[in-house]
């Protein structure tokens, strides 16, 4: 057989065609009694419904966690999770934290050194010393 095919798997490029939000679940834990949960209870009462309506792609779970500080926990598609303790934070600050969890990719934070990373090969190709016009210096 002159040529054979090599079987591979195509790689996903999230956001090139469809975009899948990486945060799949957010857990809200609160305490009814403790003062550090005051902002959290307010958030659950007044903000959570609109947040859930705006983000139908996130599963939301609310559960009490008595005698503990309130926690917001994001679960991501890559299997990792991020937990933020929101004790003594007010409503606005909690909304910011929840938004942070929603927009996170779930990956560990790392410094990006290049402005663009791409799977596509570069237009000019990889530089080779044996090609192109040789310049005399």
């Amino acid at each position: 057989m002159p040529v054979q095919g090599i079987r591979t798997v195509s790689a996903a490029r999230n956001g090139v065609g469809a975009f899948i939000l990486q945060c799949k679940r957010i857990d809200f834990h609160y305490c009814d009694w403790a003062g550090s949960s005051r902002g959290m209870v307010g958030y659950l009462k007044h903000r959570l419904e609109s947040f859930a309506k705006e983000n139908p792609q996130i599963e939301i779970r609310v559960s009490p966690r008595p005698q503990k500080h309130p926690v917001v926990k994001g679960h991501y598609i890559n299997g990792r999770e991020k937990a933020i303790c929101v004790r003594n934070l007010d409503l606005q600050q909690i909304a910011q934290k929840v938004n942070l969890l929603k927009e996170a990719s779930g990956e560990k934070l790392k410094r990006t050194k290049k402005p663009v990373t791409s799977m596509n090969e570069s237009v000019r190709g990889i530089w080779s010393p044996y090609h192109g016009g040789l310049k005399t210096v």
Partner: protein, 396 residues
């Protein structure tokens, strides 16, 4: 398209029936099934009903929670209560005309629920045919000269079972530990295979291929087009209801069923858009799918077939050939035109790589305006103009 069974899927998919009492009764008499729930959300409500019933007790009226325990897959009304399912619907931006009940049905593998009215088999058949049709027309119109083995490999890379399993993970779908009526319908439900099961016992579906029992006989490429499936494999059928399914098989049938469900509920344009956004947008480097055994010979056959001058390998440049690691840059020329070039540590290697580059240059020709046949299906589309059809690959 093969295996399109219009009556079957249209009747079973569009009118979701209700579970008959006889089936439930049969389950009850056959023996009570108590499963650990895989869903944390529903666990609390089910805790009260998990105590064992003595077998000699007369049948009493079962509460709805108890009835659920005897079902092989979640009931239809559970779909509206599942947060996971709604989140999955939102995450995939599925059309609102696709109800949650159908989405829940796509998550039930035939190995979990053998009843064709409640599993995703019919939807998966439809979705599979749509996906392979769209992929193959895309490949054939974009790269009209692609050899058939590479077409098979590219089909496998776009819509093969491994890719579909990866997509299921990327969509954030979780597997249920075991299927059952009490499980959250947002989890992928399938019966897992027992450890140590032999995977190679799949029986081939009877095709018209002559001498199907001769396994050692060579399957020519032409016969693979006619008799085998779209990846060039022998079509097999595994008895998943008895033996269970692998997570890859269940994920593949789920993704196919989603495609079929979109087609049925939202129509052809939505299905095509879904395909383009989720499948064609994936990255695949077609140049890496080739494996030539004798590229120089193939190239000279190609040039003889196309009436080009015979290819000649010429050294374009080299570093000192007596040195420890010389580099040769060899180009392959047909008359005055350069067909390809390659660099290598020896003259033979460079020539071989140059021949590979020239052959890929031939096979990867792509017309400027690519239009696929299914684009004429829309209303008001321009009439179909024939695309470039090639003679075919080089046959030595």
């Amino acid at each position: 398209m093969k295996r399109l069974q219009l009556l079957r899927w249209s009747s079973s998919a569009l009118s979701p029936g209700f579970r008959t009492g006889s089936r439930l009764q049969r389950n009850v008499y056959a023996g009570l099934r108590h499963q650990s729930s895989a869903s944390p959300a529903l666990q609390a409500e089910n805790e009260s009903v998990t105590e064992e019933q003595p077998p000699g007790q007369p049948i009493r009226k079962l509460s709805p929670e108890e009835q659920r325990l005897h079902l092989p897959s979640p009931p239809i009304k559970a779909a509206r209560e599942s947060a996971k399912l709604a989140a999955l619907h939102g995450r995939l931006y599925l059309p609102s005309r696709l109800p949650l009940e159908t989405l829940a049905r796509t998550l039930v593998d035939p190995s979990a629920d053998p009843n064709p009215n409640f599993n995703n088999e019919s939807l998966a058949i439809l979705g599979h045919d749509l996906m392979t049709y769209y992929t193959s027309e895309h490949l054939l119109c974009t790269y009209p000269r692609l050899p058939l083995t590479v077409v098979f490999a590219a089909m496998f890379a776009y819509v093969g079972p491994k890719t579909l399993a990866a997509m299921t993970r990327e969509w954030g779908v979780e597997y249920a530990a075991a299927p059952g009526g009490e499980v959250d319908p947002g989890l992928l439900q399938f019966k897992r295979m027992a450890p140590g099961t032999n995977l190679n016992t799949d029986t081939a579906i009877s095709t018209t291929r002559p001498n199907p029992d001769r396994k050692s006989w060579r399957h020519s490429l032409s016969s693979r087009i006619v008799y085998d499936d779209e990846f060039g494999d022998i079509t097999t059928e595994s008895n998943t209801a008895v033996r269970g399914a692998t997570p890859d098989q269940a994920s593949a049938s789920f993704v196919r069923a989603v495609m079929g469900a979109i087609y049925l509920h939202a129509g052809r344009p939505a299905a095509k858009r879904f395909f383009e956004q989720h499948f064609l947008s994936r990255h695949l480097n077609i140049t890496e799918l080739f494996n030539f055994s004798q590229p120089a010979r193939d190239l000279s056959r190609l040039c003889a077939r196309e009436d080009f001058e015979p290819p000649v390998a010429r050294i374009i440049s080299e570093t000192g050939r007596k040195s420890r690691h010389p580099v040769f840059v060899v180009g392959i020329f047909s008359g005055k035109d350069k067909l390809g070039e390659g660099a290598g540590g020896s003259l033979m290697e460079a020539r071989s790589k140059a021949a590979v580059a020239a052959l890929k240059g031939w096979y990867l020709y792509s017309p400027l305006e690519v239009r696929v046949p299914s684009s004429t299906e829309e209303n008001g589309a321009a009439p179909w103009k024939p695309v470039h059809v090639d003679l075919g690959e080089v046959i030595v």
